[in-house]
Amino acid sequence: MPERFDAIVVGAGPAGNAAALTLAEAGVSVLLLERGEYPGSKNVQGAIMYADQLQALIPDFRDDAPLERHIVEQRIWMLDDSAHVGTHYRSDGFNEELPNRYTIIRAQFDKWFAKKVQAAGALLICETTVTELLKDGDRVVGVRTDRAGGDIHADVVILADGVNALVAQRSGLRDELKPDNVALAVKEMHFLPEEVIQQRFNIGENEGVVIEAAGTITDGMLGTGFIYTNRESLSVGIGCLVSDFAASKTRPYDLLERFKQHPSIRPLLAGSEVKEYAAHLIPEGGYRAVPKVFGDGWLMAGDAGQFVNSLHREGSNMAMTTGRIAAETVIDLKREGKPMNGRNLSLYRKRLEDSYVMKDLRKYRDLPQVLHRNKQFVTTYPKLLAGAADTWFRVDGVDKRSKERQIVRSFLKGRSLRGLVGDALRLARAVR
């Protein structure tokens, strides 16, 4: 193996694979390092993959990517202890020739993605943990790995090593994560026969359903639960802010168990066989938590740069985009014969600002704090909504006008008029 490359990419997840693929296709010599046994073996996601950004990298990905089901129906549920109030959007329009969203299984998807990267000419080396960055003064000149004689040099290092971003932290390029800027999610893979999934979720072959659930299932913590249909399994998980887990001393696996036993969820999982239990952190601090993502000889992409739109569930999507833009920046500088210093690489940040990535993160920049300070959105409101639905739909001899009054009174009692108006304004401002 040569000891010098044009570029080294740390981590073969969506960000690292996107970066390495883009570089290799442009003829840049690139080394992709992965600490797992194979790409994906350390990675966890729900997982929904959006086609658009993947298509920009691999136009014919549908030919051989390990895709589970394309999404035809989105369910958003608010749960109290015994009920759920929800909206469903289902459309045959999602059965299009080039579907927009797919469920995937990350361990399989990342492995496939990395094969494409190798085919494009990048060198992939697995089972190799990068322990620190090699520096010449302040300039990053390569990486140190846990292999004997494991120093490797490059003009630029793209850090795509995931949410913990240990490599950058060790080298003083990034601070430690804050407990209220990061969520801990736990997840299980529930296997069921394909036909059972299709019957249970009212879907055809290849069609899939997404359920996102919020409410008392998180026991007062800020977070959500989910069920995604794969071909012959269901991804079932729940995640909340680490600060909330710490304050409430909640056991994540107990929370998951309780979610699974909710009367609206339990029948969907009945008879399934669990084959894996996983846990992972998700950066949820949004715009204000994005660290410095470029410097002399280095760039940062994906979860390491905290590029996650938690409201729209875009983590791997932003990872692929930031990985690609990081690579494009390197390619352009190389073509122009410019050195990979911080001044030139700042172009990366500028391009991110011009893309949907920073535009979307900026739009929701206040949302994490607003939700954090206003737990009523996951405690009081689900109960009020379920109570209102119960009052409205139950036929019990009470006249409808009285029922209306009863519902209005329950909201006024639960949140007060001032509280209700304030909540509406707070939420509107945070997402405007």
């Binding site: 600490r35 350390k42 990350r106 361990a107 990061v182 887990f245 696996y253 894996e276 996983a278 992972h280």
Partner: protein, 98 residues
């Protein structure tokens, strides 16, 4: 209302790990008296790795660790250090599905 605690060991049993025997990737160099803040790790670690010993010290059994980082972040937030690194390449949790 919270249901009775499930046994996390039974969940971890499903997973695939390659344990790097004798080389734990997380360690505590100075014995850490389990302050109330650190005591939360016993509950919130998703793999149930942490326990408090009779002498009040925090102790970790890392065979089921997900390498998620929760313990490092929570400790750091209260001004305490857990020496936290990823396992050597190829070791640790290896997700079949992820």
């Amino acid at each position: 209302m919270m249901i009775n605690s499930v046994k996390v060991e039974e969940k971890l049993f499903q997973n695939r790990y390659v344990v790097d025997e004798g080389r734990p990737h997380i360690s505590i160099s100075e014995p850490l008296k389990a302050s109330p803040a650190l005591r939360t790790l016993v509950d919130i670690c998703p793999a149930g790795c942490w326990s408090v010993q009779p002498d009040g010290q925090l102790s970790g059994t890392l065979d089921g660790c997900f390498e998620c980082g929760t313990c490092r972040i929570v400790a750091k937030a209260v001004g305490q250090e857990i020496q936290w690194a990823y396992p050597r390449g190829g070791y640790g949790i290896l997700y079949k599905f992820g």
